[in-house]
Symmetry: C2
Subunit: 182 residues, 2 copies
């Protein structure tokens, strides 16, 4: 539903066609969310079918006509309902992509540190990209600021982990066990 919320929110500002929505999302939100064209087109069709959106065809020469979507009163209601629901409900973040951190002690510090430094460099690169954004309008800017906070936290956290690996004290009780070998 969050993806529908996003589309409805953007269409609330002005009517747009799919390609245009894709550009918007690409330009302003690509660092923080994945949302690809086929999905956009599909959801637009779905929302049109249930009456949240109205479709208007815009002919322009011989190319595929633009399908311009505008939000209907029903769509506006749906938007508000989704928005309230989504604001009030917190969905816990999935940490599966960080599971490797749990097995840090299976590698030697000498090997671990450069890997973590590499990871850190990537986060930093992303942070710089996000920071270089022009300010967005209204509360849209909150998305950017939130991501910046998040990335900054990730970096300081990683630095601490690296520090702990270096000074050897990784997981609290003496239980450090990376095994002897190549």
């Amino acid at each position: 539903m969050e993806r529908k919320l996003l589309l409805l929110g953007l269409l609330q500002m002005q009517e747009m066609h799919g390609y245009q929505l894709n550009e918007m999302i690409d330009a302003h939100l690509s660092t923080s969310i994945d949302f690809k064209k086929p999905t956009i087109y599909k959801l637009l069709g779905q929302m049109r079918d249930v009456g949240w959106l109205e479709q208007r065809e815009e002919e322009a020469g011989n190319r595929p006509p633009r399908r311009v979507y505008s939000i209907t009163p029903a769509g506006r209601d749906a938007f508000k309902a989704l928005l309230r629901e989504s604001l009030a409900a917190y969905k816990p973040t999935d940490f599966i992509d960080h599971i490797s951190l749990a097995f840090l002690d299976h590698l030697s510090p000498a090997e671990t540190v450069p890997l973590l430094e590499n990871r850190k460099a990537q986060i930093q690169a992303l942070l710089h990209r996000v920071q270089s954004y022009d300010p967005h309008q209204g509360s849209m800017q909150l998305m950017v600021e939130h991501q910046i906070r998040h990335l900054e936290m990730e970096i300081t956290w990683l630095e601490e982990v690296i520090e702990r690996v270096v000074t050897k004290g990784i997981g609290m009780p003496g239980g450090t066990h990376h095994d002897r070998n190549e």
Copy 2:
């Protein structure tokens, strides 16, 4: 691949059967990751088929026999390779579940604040659950600490957002526009 990494990591400590792995994950990681039984069983089968795991059947009375998996040398190699790869590569977090924050200004502050307070309460509840965990062994503890950091950040961030909504200054430039209505 992260899920396979997790299974391999757990099986590196000791051989286990699927049900047991599921219990482990449930007990120690359920606050931070989703990983359900059917997925576990499927991945165990896959990894057995490619020779990363060895399967041994343990009969016990008349009930379905336990299929106990132990990691093979090939599995150990795969584990290390996956671990290195996964440590070095940062996969950006998806913020789609936070998109509602971008449309905060479509609701009146009077309505927004309680919704956000509710959201905050949920994060706090989760934080308390995570904090009540016994310390995990070795670097596994890092997962817990990371999640705690994350949740604390989310809470302070939300508090700031609430503050900004209350004092009206939401998204930087004067562009606050929540529309007049019921």
